[in-house]
Symmetry: C2
Subunit: 114 residues, 2 copies
DNA sequence: TAAACTTATCGCCATAAGACGATGAATAGA
DNA sequence: TCTATTCATCGTCTTATGGCGATAAGTTTA
C-alpha cells in the first residue's frame, strides 16, 4: 500500500519546488536547520501560510521535521535538491543568454536593413 | 522591458515541469521532433488540452515550435531539461530506498521487541 | 493550575490550473 | 473556390492552490 511510483514522486517533488516562497524557504534552510519561530520573521507571510508551505516541502520528503520541546525544527533532508535547483538555474541562464543573443542579431539586421 | 529575472524563470520552468501530462510530452518528444497530429493519438486527452500543455512548455522556453505548412512541429529546445528530470528521479529513488530501509528496520524491531 | 508560547490545522475567499467542446484561422488539396 | 485538415484560442466548468485569521493542541514557565 501507499505504493508510490517514481513518476508520482517526481511530480510531487517538482510541484513542491514550483513556488517562489518555498524556494526561498529552501535557500533559507540551506544555512542549516531552523525552527519555525526563527523562519517566520524572515518572511512576509502569515504563520499559517509558512506552516503550510513547510508542510508541503515535508510531504514531498524534501524537508525533515524534528519536534524539539515546544518548537519544531526543519532541515533539508537531502542536499541533492540544491543540485536540481542549480540545474534549473543553469537552464534559465542559457535561455536568458539566447534571448540576449537574438536581440543583438535583430538589432544588427535592423541597422543594416534600413 | 519583459526583464525576466532568473528566479522568475526558475519558477516558470519548474511549474511547467510539475505536471504528469507535460512530463509525458517531453519524454515523447525525446525521440525527436513531432507534429501535433502525431502527438495527439499517443495521449488520452483532447486536442485543446494537448495544445495548451504544449503551449505552456513553449512559454517556458522548453519546447521549440516550428510551423511547417498546415502543421506545427514541436521539439525539445535544450536537452538540459532531461538532466533536471533525471536528477529529480534520482532524488525520488533515494527517497524510496530510504523508505524501504526504514520499513526493514521497523519490522526487525517489531520482531525482536515482542 | 494558569498563562504564555509555538506551531499545526480549520474554514473561508480569491485566483490559478486542468479539462472539455466549440469556434476560428490558416493551409493544402480537389 | 469549396472542402478537409491542422492547430490555436475561447468560454465554461470543476478542482487545486495560495493567502489569511481564528482556533486548537502541545510545551514550557510562572
Amino acid at each position: 500500500m501507499t505504493q508510490k511510483s517514481v513518476s508520482d514522486l517526481r511530480v510531487k517533488i517538482l510541484s513542491a519546488l514550483s513556488d517562489p516562497t518555498r524556494l526561498c524557504l529552501l535557500e533559507y534552510l540551506s544555512g542549516g536547520e531552523k525552527c519555525v519561530c526563527e523562519i517566520l520573521p524572515a518572511f512576509q507571510r502569515s504563520q499559517s501560510t509558512i506552516s503550510k508551505h513547510l508542510n508541503i516541502l515535508h510531504e514531498a520528503d524534501i524537508l525533515e521535521r524534528k519536534v524539539d520541546g515546544k518548537r519544531t525544527v526543519y532541515c533539508i533532508k537531502d542536499p541533492q535538491v540544491f543540485e536540481i535547483i542549480r540545474m534549473v538555474d543553469s537552464l534559465a541562464l542559457t535561455q536568458i543568454s539566447q534571448l540576449a543573443e537574438a536581440g543583438r542579431i535583430l538589432e544588427k539586421s535592423l541597422n543594416n536593413g534600413s
